[in-house]
Symmetry: C2
Subunit: 409 residues, 2 copies
């Protein structure tokens, strides 16, 4: 939570932190400003001090809405003219940090164009050598630690995205099962032509937009072989057919850079092959067993090891049996969800020991099995909140049917 | 164009360039890969050599669709285990650059989380001191130079976004002018409650989504005072009213990180105040005069100076009369448009001399006048392509009416 920032800075021996970049799609900026549309701002927070937003005078009204202490660039005049923007911005940064008497280690954050910021900070380091700029490896990042535990207002926003997500999933299910089907098992659109993955994706985008959500990092709606490749988002030209596994992994966010939800169901329309049925039941059993065993404050990767063990018993490859399996259970069990679609806690076998299921975390549980050569893949995923009382709460309910009967018969 | 990359590297004395970051919303990555969904990739191009995409084995199929030479991370084994991800990734980067015999100056690009890449590259510099990593200030960036001139296929994509943009603008106009109006001049929704800016924005998002476009960087639909603040995107709670200026600046992009279009109209519903009418005609006259005078290979900022001169004659403040005017003509005349909503050529008075209206550039022309204290703002904007024959072509046509008569009477 935001109240953890000073302690996290202390642990890292940071005198201050800096956040650069746009207002949108920039989680640390959104986290500290609460959103808003200040495009040319920088945030500075000294350890033990307030967060200060420094912005262009043109954006002062938007900046004020953040509730932060706002300063305008004009307050930090720059000696001398000329030179490139890296020099100008570096001089201004020196003026800002000098006014706050910052020295020592300073953490740098923000989703930005790398080159210009790197140029500016490289110049800045020659101007103010008493400041040591520090970039943190992703897994150590201060903001991922701060964001790890959510307060009630953050959970309410994630829960609302969960409601929208399941509404859209239900509209998709209803649409697919209402389609007519050709003799060769291909689904047909109203106009009698084959329904494609691209057609369905357009509808999903529309239904999300209608509800104020956006598929900011895309989504997966993949059938057959593509369903068996966890990173494939689905081929727009593929036809929808009966009896093939469809992986629908949807992770929309609040419009403009807010909280995500993460959710997956796998369907087979009309009927399923016995092999797909068997895989589905294996994934479902692992999902259920993991969820039943979840305990507050446990290590998240303990459950990844458990998932591997359960899948290995059924004869599948896992990340324990080989380094990067291309079939079987090929990924990790879940991850934190918030302003980032993937954040702490992490569940990978090599995750650090401090990735715990603490009260306040919001995580996914998403076991799966993938056999691209057989043209099939299965994943089941829900998002859970570890409540302050230590209970695990699923933030949106949705049925787990695998075979969806077609309404036409 | 891409064919300029080697010459641009030569000018900068770069032995190679590196591009990091996600596939989506990362213009240099999109530019070189043509899109696609390779999330954990890096691009390396040696001067005079091919562009190489290095990726995770799980993403090999998506990577192959780029048409680039693909290598897998596995091909660059890392000595020793342990340490943080910055160390691991730095060792891999050394292996990749060593295999290509890269040394000397290397430009670094990509839209990324700054901290982790900065951590990795800081470590890398200790491992491979014969490579000097260079970040370029925004205005000097190699990719902004390469992207400045577009080929026909890029222009076709921008033109298609222009068609979608003007369709959505027309739907908005049709919707607004069909509304019922209350005695106090507030527009009403179908259910008899006041129509808000937020309501209209939701419809615009929906109409864009239906057409495969997304408002990736938002859009402006602002009335009254907010119309007078160029950076205000509009207050969702404001009511739509007759006789107030509405600035509608819409800059959607292809879904998933493609080309933008940029377009603005200003409307006054039902009637306009004489003061707003006068401002509109002044902006329209400047717009028309600028467009009539556009010449291939001219300096873009020459037209900014011309716009200032014309507005000053009418008694307005401009960026020539003061540093950061808060009313009058407060911004620059236009900018290049492509995979970035703002790119070269730039028109600001301090832009470098090489910002020329060369054949192949795609630019906006967008004069405006802003009087927030009077509750009004005006802007007119179209996107133009400088064709190979030196003619300026407006990429989407749309009428310039200011007062939109209400259909109800």
């Amino acid at each position: 939570m935001k109240s953890d920032l000073d302690a996290l800075m202390q642990e890292r021996n940071f005198d201050a932190i800096l956040v650069f970049g746009a207002a949108e799609n920039n989680p640390p900026m959104t986290y500290l400003t609460g959103g808003g549309h200040v495009s040319g701002a920088a945030l500075v927070k000294k350890r033990g001090g307030k967060t200060i937003l420094v912005c262009n005078p043109m954006e002062r009204e938007e900046a004020a809405q953040s509730g932060l202490e706002v300063h305008l660039y004009d307050e930090y005049p720059i000696d001398g003219q000329g030179g490139d923007s890296a020099r100008t911005l570096a001089l201004r940064l020196r003026a800002i940090l000098s006014s706050l008497q910052v020295s020592g280690r300073v953490g740098v954050y923000g989703h930005v164009d790398f080159g210009p910021l790197f140029a500016m900070l490289s110049h800045f380091q020659t101007l103010m050598p008493e400041v040591q700029l520090v970039g943190e490896p992703r897994e150590n990042g201060l903001f991922l630690y701060a964001m790890e535990t959510k307060d009630e207002s953050e959970v309410a926003r994630i829960r609302r995205m969960g409601q929208i997500t399941t509404q859209v999933v239900d509209l998709t299910r209803d649409y697919l099962t209402s389609c007519a089907v050709r003799a060769d098992e291909v689904l047909l659109k109203e106009d009698g032509t084959p329904l494609t993955i691209g057609d369905v994706k357009s509808k999903i985008r529309l239904w999300l937009a209608e509800r104020g959500a956006e598929p900011r990092e895309g989504f997966i709606f993949a059938i057959g072989h593509d369903a068996g490749v966890p990173h494939s988002t689905g081929n727009s030209m593929d036809y929808l057919r009966l009896g093939q596994t469809i992986v629908f992994d949807i992770y929309p966010a609040e419009v403009g850079g807010g909280y995500f939800y993460d959710f997956t169901r796998t369907w087979s329309l009309g009927y399923a092959t016995p092999e797909a049925e068997q895989l589905y039941h294996q994934v479902w059993n692992v999902y259920r067993e993991i969820v039943e065993r979840l305990q507050v404050n446990a290590s998240f990767k303990y459950y990844q090891a458990l998932a591997c063990e359960l899948f290995e018993k059924e004869g599948h490859k896992t990340p324990r049996t080989e380094k990067t399996p291309l079939e079987g259970y090929v990924h990790s069990l879940g991850h934190g969800v918030g302003l980032n679609i993937h954040e702490r806690p992490m569940s990978g076998l090599t995750a650090s020991e401090d990735n715990l299921l603490k009260p306040g975390v919001v995580i996914t549980i998403e076991p799966g099995l993938y056999y691209p050569e057989k043209g099939m893949g299965i994943r089941i995923e829900d998002t859970y909140w570890v409540r302050p009382d230590g209970q695990f709460e699923r933030l949106a309910e949705y049925p787990y049917d695998f075979v969806l009967p077609m309404k036409g018969g």
